[in-house]
Symmetry: C2
Subunit: 266 residues, 2 copies
């Protein structure tokens, strides 16, 4: 039953584990889908399956928010959607600026998921004067010169960096100086920020590399291919380069910016 007013958040608010916070959006999405199908209640088992986690974890996660379920019944979908939304701070509108309107920035601006939940693209900013005024996703791009003005004027506290790696730190510094305290960084760079500023990073090549690691493991077990010999010698200038399945090596270098100097012997 909804309304369970008797439930007390009991100051639970204090200290929700980070791992739990990271899963709340997942639960929220699953719940939203149920809500659209007008499903009234859901059990931890069902919801967990929909979110891709196990039910014990889900129940534990929810226990940090409060007691929003009903024993023997499950959770009221609408009520839970509201509670999680509130916990995540989605009951308020968050203006967001996207800096760097290249391929990625444009894709992000066009991404629907944005506006769908408490987030509003307040402005698109790019350093290229030629981009100024040009509309992307229905929003005119503004020049970097306006950055501070926009942030302060719109009260923006969340910024998305989609610039080339080389410009990321500089943009970050300006965003922070202007008042932004949360940054979502798509540039392949480690940003230095002062205390109190949160940074989350989304990095395509890192994800691919992690997949490659596991992929290699899958094939490796049996195939003698990839296994590199001893190489125990850790002497100075590496030299080990031998083996390695198929004479790869090529293909592994040169890129727009950074790149990998495939093993440099000597």
């Amino acid at each position: 039953m909804a309304t369970g007013r008797s439930h007390r958040p009991a100051t639970r608010s204090r200290g929700i584990p980070e791992a739990t916070v990271a899963r709340l959006p997942l639960y929220l999405r699953a719940l939203t889908a149920l809500s659209e199908r007008s499903v009234p209640t859901v059990s931890s088992e069902e919801l967990a399956a929909a979110a891709g986690v196990n039910s014990a974890k889900l129940r534990k996660d929810f226990s940090y928010l409060g007691s929003y379920g009903t024993r023997g019944v499950g959770y009221d979908v609408e009520y839970l959607v509201y509670q999680i939304s509130r916990e995540l701070g989605l009951t308020q509108d968050w203006p967001v600026v996207i800096v760097g309107i290249g391929n990625l920035g444009a894709a992000l601006a066009n991404y629907g998921g944005f506006a769908s939940r408490g987030f509003r693209v307040a402005a698109l900013i790019d350093a290229d004067p030629a981009m100024a005024g040009k509309p992307v996703a229905g929003i005119p791009v503004q020049h970097t010169d306006q950055l501070e003005e926009i942030i302060q004027g719109e009260g923006v506290s969340i910024g998305v960096i989609a610039t080339p790696a080389g410009a990321a730190q500089q943009v970050c510094d300006r965003l922070v100086a202007a008042g932004v305290t949360s940054i979502l960084n798509f540039a392949p760079t480690v940003l230095a920020v002062p205390d109190g500023v949160d940074v989350r990073k989304v990095d395509l090549s890192i994800e691919l590399q992690i997949l490659a690691f596991h992929e290699q493991r899958k094939a490796g077990e049996v195939a003698a291919g990839t296994v590199v010999p001893p190489v125990g010698s850790r002497p100075e200038p590496v030299a080990a380069r031998q083996a390695s399945a198929g004479g790869q090596e090529s293909a592994a270098d040169q890129g727009p910016d950074g790149d990998v100097p495939a093993v440099m012997p000597t």
Copy 2:
């Protein structure tokens, strides 16, 4: 004399913690930058700073790979680049297919970081017949009909899904059936995959929601109209942290699609 055989990578490969694996790409990037500047050696302290982690963690991470450093000196940059690359499986070439060439797919195809490290865009696939043949990032888009043929022909084992949420699971199923065992999913959906298949997810709105959560917490003083808990829960001393995505292993997770519904409290 036992020619420096004392150092045995000892097939440490056995159990490298997942958390460590997720950081190796970070170290690799920092090392690559040093390599380009021709820096010969680096201490754990310096490298840790460049990668945005603390030195104890870095040393512990490296200890899982083997003893590649020199006490009193540090690590040989080139040697480490090689070792980490090898560990991640980047000494071989990984053909990758990107399915769904919309805004995001095109942005990914154009992303340089791809080719720069062991990954090669083997094909761009889209369900829209009108896209067929059209070059994106210099590569002609192919129709979904060719999917199986391409994957088998090129020996692709890593697939990137950048389709709308509604098509993701279907595409995923075909990729898996054709032989792909690692998937990077950009669609806001929880994909169901058989055991042995790895799925990693990159989700913009989830990242934003996590940031919103922390942002809300920071409003310790004056927030617009937020429902800040009356309880004197003092905002904790936010420590600037840098987060990324969590890691998910093989097998199932994720579930329904969904995205866009609006939240409605009462």
